[in-house]
C-alpha cells in the first residue's frame, strides 16, 4: 500500500526569547493510504507542531530547519510534493491545504467564527476548492452535515456556532474538513474537549467516514484509549523525538521504550488492583510536615454515625429571560438540579459523575453557599452538631466556610496572576484571621512541602509554574484552613496525563494524612474510579444511580451509567469500544431510556437494589429490566 504522507528527519525549531527550542527534532514516520496513524505524546512533545508543519500553518516564530514532508496524492499518482519546500501562502500549497489535507482542531468552542453561520463556513471550503454552482454547493453542504449526523441538516446550515453544543460544533468542523474529500485528515486532539459519550460518537464518526471516503487519518492524542480503539500504527513522541513506533498491536503488547511503559502506567484504568498506585512519569517528592498534623487530629469515622454532609432534595432552576416590551421577565427554565439527595460519610470520597451541563458544578456551588437552591436541605455535621447549611448567617456561615474548601478546574484562571504564591496560600489565613505573619509563613512553607513544591517558590508568581504545579498551589490554598470537606471540581481535567497521575496521587495521600472528606466531581470515569469510594451518577439535573465504586463498575443498572461506561475508550486492544452500546448518542436523553427509567409524573424515585446501590427506576420494574 502506498504512503500518502512520508516525513523524513523533520526538524522544526521555535525561536523564543530565551533561545531556540527544538520542538521537532528529527522525526520520521509515514501515513499509509486509508489507514490511521496515531501520534502520541504529552503536551510539549511536538505533536501539534508536526501537524502545523504538514498543513503549512506554522506560527511566525517557527522555522523548518531541515527534513522533508512528501505528500503523494492518491488521486494524482506520481506527483509527490515536498511540503517543506512550498511557500505556505503559495497557490499550490493553498490548493493542498483544506482540499487534499485537512484538519480538525481540539477546541470546537473557539475554532469556528461566531458571527458566520456554519453553512457559510463549510461552503467556504467548497468555494475555494471545488468548482460548483451555488445550488450544488448548498446541496453538498447539506449532504455533508447529514453525513456527520445532523438531524435536520437543511436547518443546521443556517445555525450559528453558539447555538450548537460542543459535540455538534465538532461535527460541523468534521463536515468542514471532509467537504472536499481529502486524502489525509489530521485530527489534532479532536475529542479532548468533549464529554466521554460525545467523544465516542465523534470517534465512531471519524472511523465511519474514513471507510466511506477511503482517506488516511493522522490522529494526534495523549489518550492511549483512543489510540487502542482507532489506530493502525502508533508513533510515540517525547520532546520532539520519536521514542517508539510500530503497529498498534506491537506497541501495546510489547512496549519497548521506557517512556511508553511509563505513559501506560500513569493512566488510571478500570482493572487496577485495589490500592494500586499510579506511577507518574515524574514523581514528586512530598515531605511530611509537623505543624498541621499536630494541630488536626484525624477524625475517626464512626460507623453508623451521622454523615459529614447530607444533601436532601436539592433543587435549583435557572430562569431564562423572556423579552417583553418593557424589560425582561424571568421565565421558568428547566431545572439545573432536580431533587438531588446524597450523603458523604466522614473520610469518604464521593465521586460525582456526569457530562457537562448535568448540574454537577451547580450542586457543588450550592453546598458552598455561593448559589442559593430553590428548595432542599443541606446538613453539615460540625463535630457532632448538625448544622443547617442553608440557614447559616453571619459568623456561623463564616465558620462554615473554613470547613469546606474548593479546588477549581482551571489552574490558570483560578490563581490571581498579580499575587505571589505566598500571598495566594496565606490569603485564606488572613481572611479568617489565623496566626501572625510568622506563623502564616511557617504554614505556607509546610503546605508547599505537603504538595511537593519547593518552599523557595513562595516568592514566585503563578505564571512561572506549569499547569500541574499551579493545580498543586490551588490545592495548598484549599488546605490552608484545614478544611474537613474538600470539593474538587474536575481538578485534573485540564492537566496532561503524566501530571494528572501526580495530582491524583497527591489528593489520595492528603486524604489519608489529614482524614479529609472529598466530593470529587469529574466526567472522567477512570479518574473517579481511581479516587472515589462511592460514586453518584448525574444526568440532566438528577441523580440516576448511586453505588459503591465496585458495585457501580461491575454491575451498572441504569441505562445512562451503562452508556457512560461503554463510551470510555480503554488502552487495551482486547476491549475496544462497543459503538452499539452508545444508544446513538441518546443515552443522556431521558426520553430515550426504557420505560422503567423514563421520567414521568410519578418520578421515578431512587430504589435500593441491594446494599446501598440506588437506581432511579420505577419500583414496578422487575429485576430482569433492571439487569438488562
Amino acid at each position: 500500500m502506498a504512503d500518502v504522507l512520508t516525513i523524513r528527519d523533520l526538524k522544526v525549531y521555535l525561536k523564543v526569547d530565551a533561545g531556540t527550542v527544538k520542538a521537532v527534532d528529527g522525526v520520521s514516520f509515514r501515513v499509509p493510504e486509508g489507514r490511521t496513524v496515531a501520534l502520541v505524546g504529552e503536551s510539549g512533545s511536538g505533536k501539534s507542531v508536526i501537524s502545523q508543519t504538514i498543513m503549512g500553518i506554522l506560527p511566525k516564530i517557527a522555522r523548518i530547519e531541515s527534513g522533508e514532508i512528501l505528500f503523494a496524492d492518491p488521486r494524482t499518482p506520481g506527483t509527490d510534493v515536498d511540503i517543506t519546500r512550498l511557500d505556505p501562502d503559495s497557490a499550490q500549497m493553498r490548493d493542498i491545504r483544506g482540499a487534499r489535507i485537512s484538519v480538525i482542531f481540539q477546541e470546537p468552542m473557539i475554532a469556528l467564527s461566531p458571527v458566520h453561520t456554519i453553512g457559510n463556513q463549510i461552503e467556504e471550503a467548497l468555494v475555494l476548492h471545488r468548482n460548483l454552482g451555488a445550488a450544488e454547493r448548498r446541496e453538498a453542504t447539506v449532504d455533508m452535515l447529514r453525513l456527520v449526523g445532523f438531524n435536520n441538516p437543511a436547518r443546521a446550515v443556517h445555525a450559528y456556532p453558539f447555538e450548537l453544543s460542543g459535540g455538534l460544533r465538532q461535527r460541523a468542523l468534521v463536515a468542514m474538513a471532509l467537504s472536499c474529500h481529502p486524502a489525509l485528515l489530521i485530527a489534532d486532539e479532536p475529542t479532548t474537549a468533549l464529554d466521554v459519550t460525545i467523544q465516542a460518537q465523534i470517534l465512531q464518526l471519524i472511523q465511519r467516514l474514513q471507510a466511506q471516503l477511503n482517506m488516511a487519518v493522522l490522529i494526534i492524542t495523549h489518550d492511549l484509549g483512543i489510540v487502542a480503539n482507532l489506530a493502525d500504527e502508533v508513533v510515540v513522541l517525547y520532546r520532539g523525538r520519536v521514542m517508539e513506533s510500530g503497529t498498534v498491536e506491537d506497541v501495546f503488547t510489547n512496549p519497548g521504550h521506557a517512556y511508553l511503559k511509563a505513559l501506560l502506567r500513569a493512566v488510571p484504568r478500570f482493572d487496577m488492583a485495589p490500592g494500586e498506585r499510579l506511577t507518574p512519569i515524574r514523581e514528586i517528592k512530598v515531605d511530611g510536615g509537623h505543624l498541621m498534623a499536630a494541630r488536626e487530629a484525624i477524625p475517626e469515622a464512626v460507623p453508623g454515625g451521622p454523615p459529614l454532609l447530607a444533601v436532601r432534595h436539592l433543587t435549583k432552576g435557572f430562569g431564562s429571560r423572556i423579552a417583553g416590551v418593557f424589560g425582561d421577565k424571568l421565565g421558568h427554565g428547566p431545572r439545573a438540579v432536580d431533587d438531588v439527595s446524597f450523603e458523604i460519610g466522614i473520610g469518604e470520597c464521593l465521586g460525582l459523575v456526569g457530562e457537562s451541563g448535568c448540574g454537577k458544578t451547580t450542586t457543588a456551588k450550592m453546598i458552598l453557599r455561593s448559589l442559593t437552591p430553590d428548595s432542599g436541605e443541606i446538613v453539615f455535621d460540625d463535630r457532632g452538631t448538625p448544622r443547617d447549611v442553608l440557614a447559616l448567617r453571619g459568623a456561623d456561615l463564616f465558620a462554615y466556610r473554613r470547613q469546606v474548601q474548593f479546588v477549581f478546574q482551571d489552574p490558570f484562571g483560578s490563581l490571581n496572576p498579580r499575587m505571589s504564591v505566598f500571598d495566594i496560600i496565606s490569603e485564606p489565613l488572613i481572611i479568617h484571621g489565623i496566626g501572625d505573619e510568622e506563623e502564616r509563613f511557617a504554614r505556607a512553607r509546610e503546605l508547599m512541602t505537603r504538595v511537593g513544591l519547593d518552599v523557595r517558590y513562595l516568592r514566585r508568581y503563578p505564571h512561572s509554574f506549569s499547569g500541574g504545579e499551579r493545580q498543586r498551589i490551588g490545592i495548598a490554598r484549599a488546605l490552608a484552613l484545614s478544611p474537613r470537606l474538600l470539593i474538587c471540581d474536575e481538578p485534573v481535567s485540564a492537566l496532561d496525563v503524566s501530571v494528572q497521575a501526580q495530582v491524583l496521587n497527591l489528593l489520595r495521600d492528603l486524604k489519608s494524612t489529614f482524614g479529609l472528606t472529598y466530593l470529587f466531581i469529574s466526567h472522567n470515569l477512570a479518574v473517579v474510579h481511581y479516587i472515589a469510594n462511592r460514586i453518584a451518577v448525574m444526568c440532566a439535573g438528577r441523580l440516576v444511580e448511586v453505588a459503591d465504586r465496585d458495585a457501580l463498575f461491575e454491575n451498572p443498572r441504569h441505562p445512562y451509567t451503562k452508556a457512560l461506561l461503554a463510551a470510555v475508550p480503554h488502552p487495551d486492544l482486547a476491549r475496544k469500544l462497543d459503538f452499539a452500546a452508545l444508544m446513538e448518542g441518546k443515552a443522556s436523553d431521558p426520553d430515550a431510556w426504557p420505560a422503567a427509567f423514563k421520567r414521568g409524573p410519578d418520578g421515578p424515585g431512587l430504589i435500593d437494589v441491594g446494599s446501598g446501590h440506588l437506581v432511579r427506576a420505577r419500583a414496578t420494574a422487575d429485576a430482569a429490566e433492571l439487569r438488562a
Binding site: I57, G98, F105, P114, H116, E124, L128, S320
Partner: protein, 341 residues
C-alpha cells in the same frame, strides 16, 4: 427585532426627559441668571426703559417662579399665560444675550454642526480602516512603524495648533484665508446651491483638523483589535481551509473587530462636538461649539439649554443607531439577547 426597535424608541422618551432635567438643573446651578445679572447692572445705571423690558422678560419667562416650574415651562409641560410653549411645542425660548428668539440666533448652526461632524466621522473611518488593517497585517514592518509614528504625532498634536499651522501656511504660501465654514458673503443668507458648494469647499480643513486625532486613535485601536483577533483559533481554522491571507483577514478578524467601533458611533458625536469647540473658535466656524461656550459663560440659559438638548438628542439617536447596527451585524447579540446563564 421589530419589537426591540420599538422598545428602544420608547425608552428614548424618558431618557431625553431625564437629560433635559439634568441639563436645566446644571445650567441653573450657578447663582443668579442672565437677567438678574443684567437687571442689577441696569439698576446701577438707572435705565428705565431697559429695566422695564428686563422685568417684562423676567416675568414672561418665569424667572421669578420656582425652579421646577421654570423647567416645566421650558420643556412645555407647564402653561404660560399664552398657553403651552416650550421645547415640545417647538419654542426654544429666548436668548437674552442676543435679544432674539433662540431659533433665530441658532440659525444654520445646528445643520452646519451636523454636516461638519458627519463628514469628520466619515473621514475618520475612511482613513483609519485601511491604515489600521495594513498596520495589523504587516505588523512590525517599515510601513507599520512609519504609520504608527504618524499616528502618534496625530494623537499628540493639539487640534487647534494644527488649525493655526494650517491657517498660517495657507495664508503665507497660497494667500488663502481658510477660516470660516463658508464664504462670508453667504452668512445669514438663505440656502442656495452656491452657498452649499461654498460650505463643501471650506469643509475639508476643519474635517482634517478635527478628524486627525480621532483617526490616529482609531488606527491604534483597530490595529490592536485585529492583532488580538488574528491569534484566535477560528483564524487558524480558516487558514487550514486554504483561504488566501487577504480574503481571510477581511472575512473573519475584521468582521470580529468591528463591534467596538460600531458601538462607538453614539459616543463619537458628542466627543467630536466638544472636542472641536476650540478648533471652531480658532477657525471661526459657524458651529455650535463656540456659541455654546459663550452661552454657558453668560448664563444665557435657554440658548445653552437648546444646544445641550440638541447634542443629547444626537447622542441618544447615535447610540440607538449603533445598537441597531450591532444587532444586525452580530448574530450573538441578535439571537442570544433574551437568554441568560
Amino acid at each position: 427585532m421589530l419589537k426591540y426597535t420599538f422598545r428602544r424608541i420608547l425608552i428614548m422618551i424618558p431618557t431625553l426627559l431625564v437629560i433635559s432635567f439634568v441639563t436645566f438643573a446644571i445650567i441653573k446651578l450657578p447663582p443668579g441668571d442672565f437677567l438678574s445679572n443684567r437687571i442689577a447692572e441696569l439698576q446701577s445705571q438707572g435705565d428705565k426703559a431697559a429695566l422695564e423690558k428686563a422685568a417684562f422678560l423676567s416675568h414672561q419667562y418665569g424667572l421669578d417662579r420656582p425652579f421646577i416650574e421654570q423647567y416645566a415651562t421650558w420643556v412645555g409641560l407647564w402653561p404660560t399665560e399664552e398657553g403651552f410653549s416650550g421645547l415640545l411645542q417647538g419654542d426654544w425660548g429666548w436668548s437674552f444675550e442676543y435679544d432674539l428668539p433662540v431659533k433665530e440666533v441658532v440659525g444654520d448652526r445646528l445643520l452646519l454642526t451636523f454636516v461638519l461632524n458627519f463628514f469628520t466621522i466619515l473621514f475618520t473611518f475612511a482613513i483609519a480602516f485601511p491604515i489600521g488593517i495594513y498596520a495589523a497585517a504587516r505588523q512590525y514592518s517599515l510601513g507599520d512603524y512609519s504609520l504608527t509614528l504618524l499616528g502618534y504625532i496625530g494623537l499628540a498634536a493639539p487640534n487647534f495648533l494644527l488649525a493655526l499651522v494650517l491657517m498660517y501656511f495657507a495664508n503665507v504660501q497660497f494667500g488663502m484665508s481658510i477660516g470660516g465654514i463658508m464664504e462670508p458673503k453667504y452668512l445669514g443668507q438663505p440656502w442656495s446651491w452656491d452657498k452649499a458648494m461654498s460650505v463643501l469647499q471650506h469643509l475639508w480643513i476643519p474635517v482634517l483638523v478635527i478628524g486627525t486625532s480621532g483617526t490616529a486613535g482609531m488606527i491604534r485601536r483597530l490595529r490592536a483589535n485585529l492583532l488580538d483577533e488574528l491569534q484566535k483559533q477560528y483564524v487558524v481554522t480558516a487558514r487550514a481551509k486554504g483561504l488566501p491571507p487577504f480574503k481571510l483577514l477581511m472575512k473573519y478578524p475584521l468582521r470580529m473587530s468591528l463591534n467596538p467601533f460600531i458601538a462607538d458611533i453614539g459616543n463619537l458625536l458628542p466627543s467630536v462636538v466638544s472636542g472641536s469647540a476650540i478648533v471652531s473658535v480658532v477657525l471661526s466656524l459657524q458651529t455650535v461649539g463656540p456659541m455654546l461656550l459663550d452661552a454657558l459663560q453668560s448664563q444665557d440659559q435657554y440658548l445653552a439649554g437648546s444646544f445641550l438638548m440638541f447634542l443629547s438628542l444626537l447622542t441618544v439617536v447615535g447610540v440607538f443607531i449603533s445598537d441597531l447596527l450591532l444587532a444586525a451585524l452580530d448574530p450573538r447579540i441578535r439571537l442570544s439577547g433574551g437568554a441568560t446563564k
